[in-house]
Each structure stands twice: as structure tokens, then as C-alpha cells.
């Protein structure tokens, strides 16, 4: 009986994208890398970089967070700078600041004000940033542009470019101020490819793209995300240069699932369900090839990071553990 590990030969590789800059290049010292895989599974080749978690913070208090999550941040919600510091204590590799109060329907804060906050944040913590807008397609390009300028040279991730807004403005800001761009589409690999092509045509360096094919929460369409992500990662490894970018997942979406947030005696305490919903959604995306995780719950962050960092280890044969007499 003969057997060889079924190692695949891949023509392509996943591009490596880095965030932050070393001091020697005038940065703040912390550099985080994602992507760079040349294989699908660890027994073929360990991943060069572990999965990276970026903690979600907001530029205004979020009283609507479910209590089991809010309890960790209640004391810092008034101050995004303190909020960021706390996330670093919880093990954040990066931080995503959502400038939601720039939305005309919320507080209509000016891009300048957002940029000021950006400066404060960059001073307060060392980790690299994801810069998010409010989701308003007219305002976001202006906010992202101004924040990109404030963070010039710091290799942030601008979140996000999509077909519904002036993505050229975002592309220009990324190239001019040295940042990366999150390319967001909805669960369709062809759409992701199409958007990447447009961004590249608009002048974006393909090595600055991270793809977000949308993460649906566990129980709310996660199977659509599974299909989209797996297909993108396989095409990338097979050598399609338009989709061989690393991927990001809005794992925080998991907290929107009713099974996670709803109070229901029959289902047990929601502090467990919230944590597990985010962990399960994140791990599922991890197995589909996702590199960067936008997350909210400290329990889930810790668990996903600890489990996920093993992807850089070499395969070792597991040993027998006798559970029958345990």
C-alpha cells in the first residue's frame, strides 16, 4: 500500500498586502501583512502570515450594541481614542474606525473633523488602521480622501470602494497618500473581478487591493459567502491575476443574527451565543481563505486569533488522546 500526500501544484499565488510602516520608513513602527499564500492548505505549504484581526470602533457611542459586547466598551464609547487603546489591550492587530457620524442623516460631521480624529488615533496607538466611512455613497469618498491625507504614508486600508460611489476619488487618494483599498462586492466572484478591473483601470496598483466579497452571518446566507470566497481563492491560486488579492471579512455581521442577539430563555444566555456566532462565522470564512477579519467581540477575537495563528505551523501528525476513559 502506497500513498503520497495529495499536494496540488498551483500556477498562481495570492498577493501580499501590508499595512503600517516601519520607523525606518517614517512610519509608526508596526507592520502587519496579509496574503502571500502559494497553496490552499497547510499540509501543502504553511501560510506565510497568520490571519489578522481588525477591531471595529466608531466615532460615536453605540448604545445599540448587545449588552454582553457593550460591557467591554461602555467606559470608552464616548472617546474613540480610548476605545482604540482598549482594543489594543484586547489583542487588536489593527483597528477599523467607522466615521459614521459623517453621515448627513446622523451628524453630518465634515471630512475635516473626521481627519482630525484620524490624526488623534494615529498618535494614540501604534497598530495600523482601516478607515471606514458611514456608508453614505456621496459623502464617503470625501471623508476617505481627507482621512487618507491625514494618514499619509501610513499604509491604511480605505473601506471601501464599490460601484455605487465615486471609486476613482478613493483610488486617487490611495495612490497619492500611499494606502490600500478594500474592494467590496456582494457575494459574486464575477462582480469582484469586474470591480478589481475597474479599480486597476482607474490607476490603482493591484498589490494594494483587498477584496471583500461580503460576509453573510451564520444562518443568514453564509453559504453564499462560502461559495464566493472559495471560488475567488481557487481562481487566484490558479493564476487569475485579477482576483489573486487577499480577502477581508466583515465578521461583525454575525452579531446581526437573531440567534445571536435575541433574548430567549430557551436558547440560554446570549453572551455565549454572541461569542459563538462570531467565532463560527469567522472560522468558516477563515477556512474559505479569508485573511483579514473585521470583528467586534473580544471573546471571538481572542479565539479566532489563537486558533488561526496555527495556520503558519507545519503539519504534524496528531497523537492519540484517549477520551473513552476520560
Amino acid at each position: 500500500i502506497d500513498w503520497e500526500p495529495p499536494v496540488e501544484k498551483y500556477k498562481g499565488r495570492i498577493r501580499e498586502v501590508s499595512f503600517g510602516k516601519p520607523k525606518s520608513e517614517g512610519g509608526r513602527g508596526v507592520v502587519v501583512k496579509i496574503g502571500g499564500q502559494r497553496a490552499l492548505y497547510r499540509f501543502e505549504e504553511p501560510q506565510p502570515n497568520p490571519p489578522v484581526v481588525t477591531f471595529d470602533i466608531f466615532d460615536m457611542p453605540m448604545p445599540s450594541f448587545p449588552k454582553p459586547i457593550r460591557q467591554y466598551f461602555e467606559d470608552v464609547m464616548e472617546d474613540p481614542v480610548e476605545w482604540a487603546k482598549k482594543c489594543v489591550k484586547f489583542g487588536a492587530d489593527m483597528i477599523t474606525i467607522h466615521h459614521i457620524s459623517t453621515d448627513p442623516k446622523i451628524k453630518d460631521k465634515s471630512p475635516k473633523e473626521a481627519a482630525k480624529l484620524m490624526e488623534d488615533l494615529l498618535q494614540a496607538v501604534k497598530v495600523p488602521f482601516v478607515i471606514g466611512g458611514s456608508g453614505n455613497p456621496d459623502k464617503d469618498p470625501l471623508v476617505l480622501e481627507e482621512c487618507a491625507k491625514a494618514a499619509e504614508g501610513d499604509r491604511c486600508l480605505l473601506a471601501s470602494a464599490n460601484l455605487e460611489l465615486d471609486y476613482k476619488k478613493i483610488v486617487n487618494a490611495a495612490m497619492k497618500y500611499d494606502h490600500n483599498v478594500l474592494a467590496w462586492t456582494i457575494m459574486d466572484p464575477n462582480m469582484a473581478k469586474d470591480l478589481n478591473r475597474k479599480l486597476i483601470d482607474a490607476g490603482l496598483d493591484p498589490n494594494r487591493i483587498v477584496m471583500d466579497p461580503t460576509t453573510c452571518a451564520l444562518g443568514y446566507g453564509i453559504e453564499f459567502s462560502i461559495n464566493a470566497m472559495v471560488r475567488l481563492r481557487l481562481s487566484g491560486l490558479k493564476g487569475d491575476e485579477l482576483v489573486n488579492m487577499p480577502m477581508s471579512s466583515g465578521t461583525t455581521n454575525a452579531n446581526g443574527a437573531r440567534e445571536a442577539w435575541m433574548t430567549n430563555k430557551e436558547w440560554g444566555d446570549k453572551k455565549y451565543r454572541l461569542a459563538l456566532w462570531e467565532i463560527t462565522t469567522g472560522l468558516t470564512m477563515l477556512l474559505c481563505g479569508v485573511d483579514l477579519f473585521m470583528m467586534l467581540n473580544p471573546v471571538a477575537v481572542k479565539t479566532l486569533k489563537k486558533v488561526g495563528e496555527k495556520l503558519t505551523n507545519k503539519f504534524k501528525m496528531p497523537k492519540k488522546v484517549d477520551w473513552i476513559i476520560a
Binding site: 500513498w3 446566507g221 451565543r273 456566532w277 504534524k316 501528525m317 473513552i324
Partner: protein, 479 residues
């Protein structure tokens, strides 16, 4: 590997087109290929062609079943990724019962496993088998536990023991076809001998940390006439990816490399990670009690393996909050992407609605439909539920995609005759469909009221507002 098509199967059918099977020969061939029909339905097949067809349509991962009246079917998979076709047999989940418990405790725990249910989108998600664990190592206790479980439940069982004496005695008493856990390289010969001696139908788990060794053992089983084999790569509680890697190597060998000796279902034991976590540091420790962290860790490991080829899992805990994410993930991964997830559009009376009851408009996406009707049932909502054909899309999805619109609403109102059932003309819309209000009012002539965001709040909303809405509408439309 070579792709089989319907023509290859058709050539081997009798070609009488007699429709005894319910189809023409060609249509039957297609059904066989899609694994939607059984070959037994055609009475005119020659033995030789039957074998040939079976060979053609049998999946690269063998289907292995165990149990009695209730059965578990494992494996039968054809693809590496669900988008390539579909996965067929959902991961079976087994929970252990220790033979060191008292009689009463064993019975209770077994019943609890059998009765466990988590209802989601109209489906009852359940556990699949009971693992009787010979913790005592005592054959007598083991046998007793088996008898209790088989009397108390109809669940398929897995016999887990390290003691060959226990195994022999167990095979004398067990009534159903059990799954035996497990043979290793060291004791495989003896176990095969015992199985032969007892002349009992069983499925056998082979355990190892080495794929090559598993292959060697599987080949040995086949030589000895035992085809119902399940492979168990050891669970590594410190680095679950070592187990994931083994699962992938096995599955890829079977499906992409056509390795017959590795074409068997895979079993993993996250129960190991639970016991490990009780005595070792694991990630959630900092936030929860040791016991709760161990449960979260067991669920984490289970979800990871469910994602990569575990056809069966053995776990320890029965807390609903631990099982909910696992069962929901299983439901998602094993839905057939070839089938639209939708229900029949139309009018669904909820409770006992009359001419004064509210009319509520939702979509025919199954997740939406079952969530809404589940909520209404729980909250005793009485209403006429209009289920619109949005091509099986959720509310916000069909609003964005344009299927949730006035034209479709008008069609639905006409086809269901809802106008004759109520004496008002008010439709309640989900808050997510607020933007379609103008269009629907214009096309249907009905008044639209925007309701709540979530269907779980609808009961409350109606109790507070329905009478007023109805009164206001009547006043306005008096003439």
C-alpha cells in the same frame, strides 16, 4: 477524474420506456445521476448492467450507514466544494453517554439526546446518534448501558470501548447495526476476528494520526469483506488544523485522485477538545468560567471540522447555546445550491383571521417565510399573510433587486382574492420595504402601513396600533 453523464447510464438501461420506474428510461437515467432515485425502481435490469450502473453512479466516498429503525447515513460525497454540485449527507452528530452513570442517569441522558431539537426555518435540527462510552472498562457495565439505551430510545448507537472483552459482550446483546469505535493498527486484526466470529453486521471506525496507516487498515478491512468503514484522523486539541489537514488529504485523495482505499466517510472527535480544555488553557478562559470556555472551545473545534469534511462528529455537551451554531452551520453547508430556497407564494391565514384582521406582506424566501411564521406563531399573531413571489429572495434583497414591487403585489392580491376576505384595504409592509410603499399603493390602490423592522416585533406593533390604524382608515374611507 472522468465525468459520468446521463447517456452513459441510459445505454445500460433496458430501454423499454415502460415507465414502471415513473419516468422514461432517459429521464430515469438523469434522476439516477442526480441521486434522486433508486436503481431498484426498474424491475427489468439485468444483474450485470445493474452492477455496471452502480459502479458508474456510486460516489467516490462510500455511503456507510448504521443504526436500527432510525439510521445514520455517512459520506456519499462527490465534490470537494459545495458550489461544484452539492454535499449530500449532513454531518451526523453523536453525543456520549458514560457507562459509569446510574441506570436512571443513563436513561435520562439518552432520552435527552434523542429529544433534543432546535427549530430553524421550518426545519427541526436534531442530534443523530448516541455514543455509549465504556468509561468503566467493565464489560458488564457496558452491556447494561447498551440495553438501557436501546430500550429507552430508537437512536443509532456507537459502541466506544478500549476493551475487547467489552466489545465481544456488547456484540452479543446489541440489537441494531452499531458503529464500533475503534480499531487501531495494533488491534485491527483482533477486532476483525471478533466481528467475523459474532457474524454481526457492523460499521467500524479506524483511528490513526497517519493517513497512510488509515489507508492500510481500510484495505485490510476490504480484504476481509468489511466494507462499512469510517476513518478517524486523531483530533489534535492544541492545533485543530492538524486534524483538518488529515481530513483534507483523505478527501482529496478519494475525490480528486480516485483513491478507493480512502473513499470512506470521516469521523472526528471534538469531545477530546472539551476534556483537554477542562485542564489546559484555551482562548475563552479569560472571559468565562473554565467549564463554559471548554464548551465554547468544543463548539469552535466542531465548527472548524464541519467545514472541512467531517461526516460525523462526537461531542460531549448538550447545552442548546453550544449546539445552535453547530447545527445552523450544518444546515447552511448542506443546503443544496441547485435548489432555490423558496416556498409557494400565496395567501396563508395565520391563527383564525376574519374580515377585520390585518393583511401582512412578506416574501417567499424560505428563511424569511419560516422566520416570520415562526415569530407569529410564538406571539399568537392573527393575520392574513400574503407571501409574494420574489423569486425566493429576502425582503431587503428583493427590494434592492426590484422583485418587491407594486406590479407583483397587485398580481398577488388578484390571485389570492384577499379583497373578498377582508373589509378593509390596508397592507402592512416590513420596514425594510418602506421604499416600495408609494409604488405598491399606486399599483394596488391599497393603503400601505410601514411596520417594524423585525417580524418578532409585529405582535407588539399590532396590539398597540392595529385598532387605531383600522379606525383611521375607515374614517378616511367612509364615503
Amino acid at each position: 477524474m472522468k465525468k459520468v453523464n446521463a447517456m452513459d447510464i441510459y445505454k445500460l438501461l433496458p430501454k423499454r420506456n415502460c415507465k414502471k420506474c415513473g419516468y422514461t428510461c432517459m429521464a430515469f437515467a438523469t434522476k439516477l445521476l442526480e441521486r434522486e432515485e433508486s436503481l431498484d425502481k426498474c424491475p427489468f435490469l439485468t444483474e450485470e448492467n445493474r452492477k455496471k450502473i452502480l459502479e458508474l453512479i456510486s460516489p467516490p466516498v462510500r455511503e456507510v450507514s448504521f443504526g436500527g429503525k432510525k439510521k445514520v447515513v455517512l459520506g456519499g460525497e462527490e465534490v470537494m466544494y459545495r458550489y461544484q454540485k452539492t454535499f449530500f449527507n449532513p454531518t451526523a452528530i453523536g453525543v456520549d453517554v458514560e457507562d459509569t452513570l446510574t441506570e436512571e442517569e443513563i436513561r435520562e441522558r439518552a432520552k435527552k439526546i434523542e429529544d433534543f431539537v432546535f427549530e430553524r426555518t421550518g426545519e427541526k435540527l436534531k442530534l443523530d446518534f448516541i455514543v455509549i462510552r465504556n468509561k468503566s472498562q467493565d464489560p458488564e457495565k457496558f452491556v447494561k448501558a447498551i440495553k438501557i439505551v436501546e430500550e429507552a430510545t430508537e437512536m443509532p448507537i456507537c459502541l466506544a470501548t478500549n476493551n475487547l472483552e467489552s466489545l465481544k459482550k456488547a456484540l452479543d446483546v446489541v440489537k441494531q447495526k452499531p458503529l464500533i469505535y475503534s480499531a487501531t493498527k495494533e488491534n485491527l486484526d483482533e477486532i476483525l476476528k471478533i466481528i467475523k466470529e459474532k457474524n454481526k453486521e457492523v460499521a467500524l471506525v479506524l483511528s490513526s494520526g497517519d493517513v497512510k496507516e488509515l489507508k492500510y487498515m481500510a484495505a485490510k478491512c476490504l480484504v476481509n469483506g468489511l466494507e462499512d468503514v469510517v476513518l478517524e484522523p486523531y483530533l489534535d486539541p492544541e492545533d485543530v488544523f492538524n486534524t483538518v489537514d488529515m481530513n483534507v488529504m483523505i478527501r482529496r485523495s478519494a475525490i480528486e485522485r480516485g483513491d478507493k482505499y480512502l473513499g470512506f466517510p470521516i469521523l472526528n472527535c471534538p469531545i477530546v477538545s472539551y476534556f483537554y480544555a477542562l485542564n489546559n488553557p484555551v482562548p475563552p478562559d479569560e472571559f468565562f468560567s473554565k467549564e463554559d470556555s471548554a464548551k465554547i472551545y468544543e463548539a469552535t473545534v466542531s465548527a472548524t471540522l464541519l467545514n472541512r469534511y467531517a461526516d460525523a462528529l462526537i461531542i460531549h455537551n448538550l447545552d442548546i447555546w453550544e449546539l445552535m451554531p453547530i447545527l445552523t452551520l450544518r444546515q447552511a453547508i448542506y443546503t443544496d445550491p441547485r435548489k432555490p430556497q423558496e416556498v409557494e407564494p400565496g395567501l396563508y391565514p395565520i391563527g383564525n383571521p376574519d374580515e377585520n384582521s390585518p393583511v401582512i406582506l412578506t416574501t417567499n424566501f424560505s428563511l424569511t417565510f419560516y422566520t416570520v411564521t415562526g415569530d407569529f406563531e410564538k406571539d399568537n399573531v392573527t393575520c392574513w399573510l400574503l407571501v409574494m413571489d420574489t423569486g425566493g429572495k429576502a425582503v431587503d434583497v428583493s427590494v434592492a433587486g426590484g422583485q418587491y414591487n407594486g406590479e407583483n403585489a397587485k398580481k398577488l392580491i388578484e390571485e389570492t382574492g384577499i379583497a373578498e376576505k377582508v373589509n378593509h384595504r390596508i397592507i402592512i409592509l416590513p420596514a425594510l420595504a418602506a421604499s416600495t410603499r408609494g409604488d405598491i399603493e399606486e399599483k394596488t390602490g391599497w393603503t400601505c402601513v410601514v411596520g417594524t423592522r423585525d417580524s418578532s416585533q409585529v405582535g407588539e406593533f399590532l396590539r398597540k396600533n392595529w385598532d387605531r390604524i383600522l379606525k383611521e382608515w375607515r374614517e378616511k374611507n367612509k364615503s
